[in-house]
């Protein structure tokens, strides 16, 4: 049986990985004193939104 992969599912995976990176890398940079609190919190918030947008397509496809 042929499985049709939705193009949204295809781009959801890299967006998902980027979102996870956006959740953990800025706090690491903050910990090392290479980033301030405000940009860290903003990047984490954007990453949160993109994670919940991408995860249903990515994890459903998986």
């Amino acid at each position: 049986m042929n499985t049709v992969i939705n193009p949204i599912s295809k781009i959801a995976k890299p967006i998902g990985w980027l979102s996870l990176a956006g959740t953990i890398v800025p706090p690491f940079l903050f910990m090392m004193h290479w980033m301030d609190s405000n940009p860290m919190q903003n990047i984490m918030l954007v990453s949160c939104v993109s994670w919940f947008a991408a995860a249903p397509f990515w994890m459903k496809a998986e």
């Binding site: 800025p26 706090p27 690491f28 903050f30 910990m31 919190q41 984490m44 919940f52």
Partner: protein
């Protein structure tokens, strides 16, 4: 897994799961990671700090306790689940009879309500930063802190109840999706805390100041982490989940929940309170609410995490409580059962006393529910060898097996006496209570066991 259904829409509740419905290990790793990354993890870590746990107890005690929990899941729960392929309720009905299962359901339902209530309390702390005038509860709070707090708990609790009444498929999916992100937010909170403290020595940070009374020892931490989910592994509640596993090795998937949710997340949450103690001078015995701490560390993302973590775990709990209540009164609709459960949960959530005594509550939860697992363990592994009947209620046609009732309630009664009268730490109680229940079940079955055909 509970979403797995046959074509008639049932969840194989009264029959063994068929071969075609079995699932590989991957399904269980995600489920366990999500289920054990709850809002209450934000409370447990700081409570260890408040109880003066040492760094070695936290780092090595949690490691050992969680390992023992995983092994219990693998070699008891998953072993029985993959052989029997029945829900706990159906297996118990065969041993104890339908009417005794109703009593178990009552205990289960009430305890699940308090558990979900605790999640409501934690989620409500995420509202605090938006309303600075709202007084947040501390570890010493037992009563509601004011009208604003009550309103926050009622609104959150009602929303959770309505969603649970609609069926928890959506929330279960949300929990699944949010699990990897939530774990990273926990780690992010810890990283930010280390950065703010400008100290990367986690061992030193977790060490309580000299002279701090140690209310919880190494053994206490081991037993707490081993038995905080005793009802699920030793108590066999997870038969309902693991009966879908192809192999008992799926029990190892619980490691995802234990080592991410109950190790990494607890230590990260503990570091949050360490920061507030060291920098803001907060008394560790009084503590600080999770909402304020995570908002300070990572901003809105932390508040979303507290809310999502509480919500995604409270909803299935609420759903199970509704099912348990419905099990007591089968003529009642599931929605009505969930509504009653939701009302009790909101009542429990308004009072911070439950969540602030979470280390004690989880021990009581395990002490009451885990011994039932001993009866299933005896029935599965030892009954034939010891010459007692397997599935005695089914074979004798009784709906109430008194042997099970006494074997369950006598050790639980003794354990509760030990807790109430002698203040024994409740996490020490599930193991001896369960062993006593198993031995008593064998003895009583030999003496007064049901006559089977």
């Amino acid at each position: 897994m509970s979403e797995e259904t046959d074509q008639s829409g049932s969840e194989y509740e009264r029959e063994p799961v068929p071969e075609r419905a079995l699932k590989g290990p991957a399904a269980f790793w995600g489920m366990y990671a999500g289920e054990h990354s709850a809002g209450t993890e934000f409370m447990i870590g700081p409570l260890f700090v408040a109880w003066g746990a040492s760094a070695s107890s936290l780092i090595f005690g949690l490691l050992l306790g969680n390992l023992l929990a995983v092994l219990t899941w693998r070699f008891l729960t998953a072993e029985i689940a993959t052989k029997q392929r029945l829900t706990l309720y159906f297996k118990l009905e065969k041993i104890a009879g339908r009417n005794l299962v109703a009593i178990y359901n009552l205990a289960n339902g009430i305890l699940f309500c308090f558990l979900a209530g605790s999640m409501i309390t934690v989620s409500a702390t995420a509202v605090g930063p938006f309303f600075p005038s709202m007084v947040m509860p501390t570890f010493e709070s037992t009563l509601p802190t004011g009208p604003g707090w009550i309103a926050a708990c009622v609104i959150i609790g009602l929303t959770m109840t309505i969603v649970a009444m609609k069926g928890y498929g959506f929330v279960a999916k949300m929990g699944h999706y949010s699990a990897p992100w939530m774990i990273l937010v926990f780690v992010a909170c810890a990283m930010v805390t280390l950065g703010k403290l400008d100290n990367y020595n986690v061992w030193e940070l977790l060490s309580p100041p000299p002279g701090t009374p140690e209310k919880i020892s190494f053994l206490g931490i081991v037993c707490f982490s081993w038995f905080c989910n005793a009802a699920m592994h030793m108590g066999m509640a997870d038969l309902s989940v693991l009966r879908f596993a192809k192999s008992p090795n799926a029990g190892y998937a619980s490691a995802a929940g234990m080592f991410l949710g109950h190790y990494v997340a607890w230590i990260c949450a503990a570091l949050l309170l360490v920061y507030w103690v060291r920098v803001h001078g907060v008394d560790p015995k009084v503590g600080k609410d999770p909402g304020t701490m995570v908002n300070d560390a990572v901003g809105y993302v932390g508040l979303i995490c507290v809310m999502v973590a509480g919500w995604t775990t409270a909803n299935p709990t609420l759903y199970r409580a509704g099912l348990a209540i419905q099990g007591i009164v089968p003529s009642m609709s599931r929605n009505m059962g969930t509504l009653i459960a939701g009302t009790v949960c909101i009542g429990a959530g308004i009072f911070p006393a439950f969540v602030m005594n979470f280390l004690v509550f989880l021990g009581i939860f395990g002490t009451i529910l885990a011994p039932i697992g001993a009866i299933i363990i005896v029935d599965h592994f030892f009954a034939d060898r010891l010459g007692i009947a397997t599935d005695p209620a089914l074979k004798s046609g009784t709906s109430f097996n008194m042997v099970v009732l006494f074997a369950w309630l006598i050790p639980v009664g003794v354990a509760m006496y030990a807790y109430l009268k002698h203040e024994v730490f409740t996490s020490y109680l599930p193991l001896p209570t369960t062993i006593a229940c198993g031995i008593l079940y064998v003895i009583l079955s030999k003496w007064f066991g049901l006559k089977v055909a």
